[in-house]
């Protein structure tokens, strides 16, 4: 079989109820259809086991490739093995590196954590108090955490308070805990949040305590609400954005190349992220242009 | 007054020949039994014994402590003080299992059966189920055993595989009794087993009790139906306020003294009989061609001031009349008018609006609101009259309290106060509160289904009295009861149902217990 054949591919995700994942699934589906392939999609509604079983069914039904959209590859070991045995490509987006996959299209989370943390530290001269909100249960967030630690450990004058977020209820939890921290009157200089959803809550808590001139927040993801916040004020100083739509398209291209026999020694194909500050934030309803957008603050000046 | 009755009781007790004369030790002997609930002394040093072959009746007002005594003896409550001997041996009964082990079986007043389970499972509930391989229940054996138990009490037409919830109340009572009687227990305790039974069933039960007594079992038996108590008992013990108030052997029973010991005063059982020849007003309730699942084309009329009895065996259609008139069961055909206006029997709400009020048979299931205070229980249907505004419908607390107080006083409801929980009242007083709820609300036609069930003799008289009073107020009352002797006592006229039809109408001197039973059993030649 070759990429030019009318292939049968499956695009699936453990939880489609998120704008990012929907976008990836849609862009992958569109790209595959554009190649004249037959596409079947599946959404596990949060149930990873059901997703795995469904993926195995695709293999049994003789699909030519699997595209996993943001379901943790670490929890799909069995599926990946089965795909390998069946000799079909298993390409994933944003799902982590696991032996046996054809390739994962993603972002280098450790690097992203580093970028956000470095920008943050630079703005406070490596001194003062920083609060970190993260949920270390998710491997991608653990990677970002590693990036964060890699940076702050170099600054002895930096006081770090690490807060583990309660999930579910993460937004309300971050809002309440940020408020409680501010309530206790401690001087805080900056906040590092593991992902944009909770950055919103931290920003609101700061604004409502009227501390928006003293504290800023840095984050990662590049979700639309984060762009809105960056546009609306300075409390959310920046976010490191990923090319979500591009990942779906790249995944399909990767399947195409894999079917044609290409091997991917690196296994992980990192897409370049963007640093989104108020100078670079796209206008409402638009996305950053990932081809041209800057990755470091110097490129912006 | 109290002193007289106490001394009477003491005298009566003295006249009772002592048990210590020799012979085998009593099957069950209770000495100095005391049960203190927080704030209440429910039993105060009570002595009691049940001898071999004896049927021993335990009497007393609602709340006198009868059920508490039974619960202490059967391990449902832990006694505060006192000793229990079984066949002369002192025993500790800390749980229902202990009671079973010592050969004591019981039919409690409430909570005997699990309605969602089958008759056969209920019969063996708590016991050891026959098994296969030591694990799985052997259902064939269970059924066979259940059939044996049912046969022993003559309950042949109950399917052991039927669900208890499907049974009639009287069948449920008989199943509870079968459960206790069929065990090999030496002592069998029955707490108001006959409250839901009709006379035939009571006779069957008594037959078995006598037979078992002859075989050497002993019975402790509680009932508020004094007539049957005097009929069956070998001995009577009366409790009052948790204390021993007298004891009589069968041949020494003095009815008047017993009643006096129960109620603590001497004027209780003034045998009032309905005034014959009383003049009634206009017809209020007119029923014509009424048919329903168990009723075939019934026609009758009730007049202002009249108490009309509706008698019949369970399933005969008598009770169904009450359900159909109050919109609980669907009528197939027929017309019902109150004061000449047709009444829509679609549901209880419309029946209520049409002028009916129902006092249902099962107080706990159908009438009481357990978490509510006495005030709330009385005022509920009448709240519409006490709201301060038509939109928010705020209840005027003052008006509500006033009406509840007046009703409670009027009906002589005994309680700690208007705010006492209804659950904390004794059975008779709960029933008076239920009646009061409807008297306060008002109706043209009162449907009273067994309003005196499980109510003590003093309260019964009060309820009869109340019934007459509301009728005299110019309303019509429909009355039914499982106690046939109540019809001649309460009603001006009785309609007897058999097999869905009205087979007889009795008034005045013809209205006797035997005549009613005769007709209800299907006898053709009624005294009409």
């Amino acid at each position: 079989k070759s990429c030019a054949d009318p292939l049968k591919v499956a695009v699936f995700s453990v939880n489609g109820a998120s704008p990012t994942i929907t976008e990836m699934m849609e862009s992958a589906t569109a790209a595959a259809k554009a190649k004249g392939w037959e596409v079947e999609t599946y959404d596990g509604n949060g149930d990873q086991v059901a997703t795995n079983n469904q993926a195995n069914t695709y293999i049994q039904r003789g699909f030519d490739a699997l595209i996993n959209v943001a379901s943790d590859n670490n929890q799909m070991g069995g599926v990946i093995e089965n795909a390998q045995e069946a000799g079909i490509p298993f390409v994933s987006t944003f799902s982590g590196l696991v032996p046996g996959i054809t390739a994962d299209i993603g972002s280098n989370n450790v690097a992203d954590g580093v970028i956000a943390a470095s920008e943050m530290v630079a703005r406070i001269d490596g001194r003062g108090k920083v609060v970190k909100f993260n949920w270390n249960v998710l491997p991608a967030l653990q990677d970002r955490d590693r990036g964060f630690h890699a940076v702050v450990e170099g600054y002895p004058d930096l006081e770090v308070e690490e807060v583990e977020v309660k999930v579910p209820g993460q937004v309300d939890d971050v809002y309440a805990k940020m408020t409680n921290l501010l309530q206790s009157g401690e001087k805080i200089d900056a906040v590092w949040t593991g992902w944009d959803e909770i950055a919103v809550a931290a920003v609101r808590a700061i604004e409502q305590a009227n501390k928006q001139d003293e504290i800023f927040v840095v984050s990662m993801d590049g979700a639309a609400p984060a762009y809105d916040l960056i546009r609306d004020g300075n409390t959310l100083a920046l976010t490191v954005a990923y090319d979500v739509g591009g990942m779906g398209t790249t995944a399909v291209d990767t399947v195409c190349r894999a079917v044609d026999g290409e091997k991917f020694p690196a296994r992980v194909l990192y897409k370049k992220p963007c640093l989104i500050l108020d100078q670079t934030v796209p206008s409402t309803g638009h996305k950053p242009d990932f081809k041209t957008c800057p990755l470091f603050s110097a490129e912006i000046q | 007054m109290t002193e007289t009755s106490d001394s009477a009781a003491a005298a009566a007790a003295g006249s009772d020949p002592g048990p210590d004369g020799g012979g085998p030790p009593p099957l069950l002997a209770v000495r100095g039994l005391t049960k203190r609930f927080p704030g209440t002394l429910a039993l105060d040093h009570v002595d009691l014994e049940v001898r071999v072959g004896e049927i021993h009746a335990l009497l007393g007002e609602n709340g006198a402590g009868k059920s508490t005594l039974i619960k202490c003896v059967t391990g449902a409550h832990r006694p505060t003080e006192g000793s229990i001997r079984v066949a002369g041996e002192e025993v500790q009964i800390a749980s229902p299992q202990d009671a079973t082990r010592h050969g004591i079986a019981v039919v409690h007043q409430h909570f005997n059966l699990v309605p969602t389970m089958t008759v056969q499972e209920n019969l063996i509930l708590g016991g050891h189920l026959p098994r296969r391989l030591g694990i799985f229940v052997n259902w064939q054996e269970v059924e066979a055993e259940a059939r044996r138990h049912l046969e022993r009490v003559g309950l042949l037409d109950v399917d052991p595989r039927a669900n208890v919830a499907e049974l009639r109340p009287d069948e449920m009572a008989m199943v509870s009794i079968a459960k206790a009687v069929a065990s090999d227990a030496k002592v069998i305790i029955l707490d108001e087993p006959t409250a839901a039974l009709v006379p035939q069933e009571v006779d069957v039960l008594f037959g078995h009790m006598r037979r078992l007594a002859k075989e050497g079992h002993g019975f402790l038996y509680v009932s508020h139906r004094l007539a049957e108590v005097f009929d069956i008992s070998d001995r009577i013990t009366v409790l009052r306020d948790g204390r021993f108030a007298g004891s009589w052997a069968h041949d020494a029973i003095d009815r008047r003294a017993v009643v006096q010991a129960i109620v603590g005063r001497s004027d209780a059982m003034a045998e009032e009989v309905a005034q014959a020849g009383k003049l009634f007003g206009d017809p209020i309730l007119e029923v014509s061609g009424l048919s329903a699942d168990r009723i075939e084309s019934a026609d009758f009329t009730a007049r202002s001031g009249e108490i009309l009895g509706i008698a019949g065996l369970p399933g005969s259609g008598a009770e169904e009349v009450f359900d159909v008139l109050f919109g609980r069961a669907r009528a197939h055909t027929g017309e019902v008018r109150i004061d000449g206006a047709p009444v829509d029997l679609g549901d209880p709400r419309r029946a209520l609006r049409g002028g009916f009020a129902l006092v249902p048979k099962d107080r706990h299931k159908e009438a009481l609101f357990p978490g509510f205070s006495v005030r709330e229980n009385i005022s509920l249907p009448s709240l519409a009259r006490m709201v301060t505004d038509p939109v928010f419908r705020f209840v005027h607390r003052g008006r509500e309290r006033e009406m509840a107080t007046a009703t409670a006083r009027d009906l002589n409801v005994k309680m700690a106060g208007l705010e006492a929980k209804i659950d904390s009242l004794s059975g008779g007083n709960q029933q008076k509160a239920v009646l009061g709820r409807w008297f306060a609300h008002g109706a043209r036609v009162y449907l009273l289904n067994s309003p005196t069930a499980a109510v003590d003799v003093g309260a019964k008289a009060e309820i009869y009295d109340l019934t007459r009073r509301i009728a005299d107020d110019g309303t019509a009352v429909l009355f039914t009861s499982t106690e046939v002797e109540e019809f001649p006592r309460v009603c001006h006229r009785v309609l007897v149902f058999h097999d869905g039809r009205i087979v007889g109408e009795l008034t005045g001197a013809n209205m006797t217990e035997t005549a009613i039973m005769h007709l209800a059993a299907g006898g053709q030649d009624g005294p009409e």
């Binding site: 919103v200 609400p225 | 927080p38 209880p348 209840v395 904390s424």
Partner: protein
């Protein structure tokens, strides 16, 4: 004659009346145990962080933090009084917050914020009434019906919103509902206290409220008392839905974000917990508004106190669970001595 009064009086104790001889500690604990635990917790946290915890600012903060849970749990109480489980409150809260932001959105219909609140409450009430109708006229178990309705609502919101959060473009007047103060008290707290007062008066002092209790206590007896039992499910579930939507709306105004998912789920189990805690407070065995409020405060104080003490998150889960068990143990002693 006097006997029965005495007995009945004493009997009432069983349920919780005043005891005459000596003080009835167990009874006291059953009623006030939860409240006492709440006060004990306040004392402990005060000792733990004397400069931070016991300040007016922090107490307002606690009230503010529980206000959304409070609004939702108070509404749920009405349903549970009637014996109906309402699991759709989670989705309803999400719907309320999202819909309100859509209505007031600068690039959307741009409806006046107060009108938007009314519209949201009306829509929620309508869905709640539909819940009630399905439950009482079609006879579907409330548990499943509301679970299913929650799923439908979730889907509709996800579909309409394309899973996107509305963040900027929400007018100040709307945000004020969740962020501003009135007379020095945060508006969400005022909203909660209003709901508290309204529902308290409703359940305790109106005919409809009394009828709801009657139905919850003995449905058949209520029907025989002429109460149109089925209609009340509509009222109860309408109120529960409206409160859930209001809670979500306040959350949206507070955060300045109309999120299409995950808002209400946060409060679902805690709302039930608060109502059940309430049923072991002051009037053991009965769901009631003031009890629910105590439950809400208990949960809020535990959360706030542990967070302020800087307890690590996993310890927060543990301690929170243990404190709940302890608080309710004190309230349940009554059951222990029941034999």
């Amino acid at each position: 004659m006097a006997r029965n009064d005495g007995t009945a009086g004493a009997a009432a104790d069983g349920a919780g009346g005043a005891a005459k001889p000596g003080f009835d500690w167990l009874n006291w604990l059953a009623r006030y145990g939860t409240l006492a635990s709440l006060i004990l917790l306040l004392v402990i946290f005060t000792i733990g962080r004397p400069s931070v915890f016991p300040t007016v600012g922090n107490f307002l903060n606690i009230l503010n933090q529980v206000s959304i849970l409070g609004i939702i749990a108070l509404g749920l109480t009405v349903c549970l009084v009637m014996g109906l489980f309402d699991l759709s409150i989670a989705a309803m809260a999400t719907l309320g917050g999202w819909l309100a932001t859509v209505l007031v959105f600068r690039n959307g219909p741009q409806i006046d914020p107060y009108l938007a609140v009314l519209l949201v409450l009306a829509a929620a009430t309508a869905i709640g009434v539909l819940n009630g109708t399905l439950v009482s006229y079609l006879g579907i178990s409330a548990f499943i019906e509301t679970l299913a309705m929650g799923s439908v609502i979730t889907g509709v919101v996800l579909g309409l919103s394309k899973s996107r959060t509305i963040l900027s473009g929400i007018p100040k007047e709307f945000l004020a509902i969740g962020q501003e103060y009135t007379l020095g008290i945060p508006n969400p707290v005022i909203a909660m206290l209003l709901v508290l007062l309204l529902l308290w008066a409703f359940l305790e002092h109106t005919q409809i409220g009394r009828n709801l209790y009657a139905i919850g206590g003995n449905q058949e007896a209520a029907r025989l008392s002429g109460i149109a039992v089925k209609r009340y499910a509509l009222i109860a579930m309408g109120i529960s839905a409206a409160c859930a939507a209001l809670g979500g709306l306040v959350a949206a105004a507070n955060l300045g974000a109309g999120r299409p998912q995950g808002v209400g789920e946060t409060y679902l189990l805690n709302a039930f917990a608060a109502v059940f805690i309430g049923a072991s407070t002051l009037r053991p065995g009965r769901f009631h508004i003031l009890g629910t409020f105590v439950g809400v405060l208990l949960i809020g104080v535990i959360n706030n106190g542990l967070s302020i003490m800087g307890v690590p998150t996993y310890w927060q889960y543990i301690v929170q669970g243990l404190l709940l068990i302890l608080a309710l143990f004190s309230a349940s002693v009554l059951i222990l001595r029941r034999r």
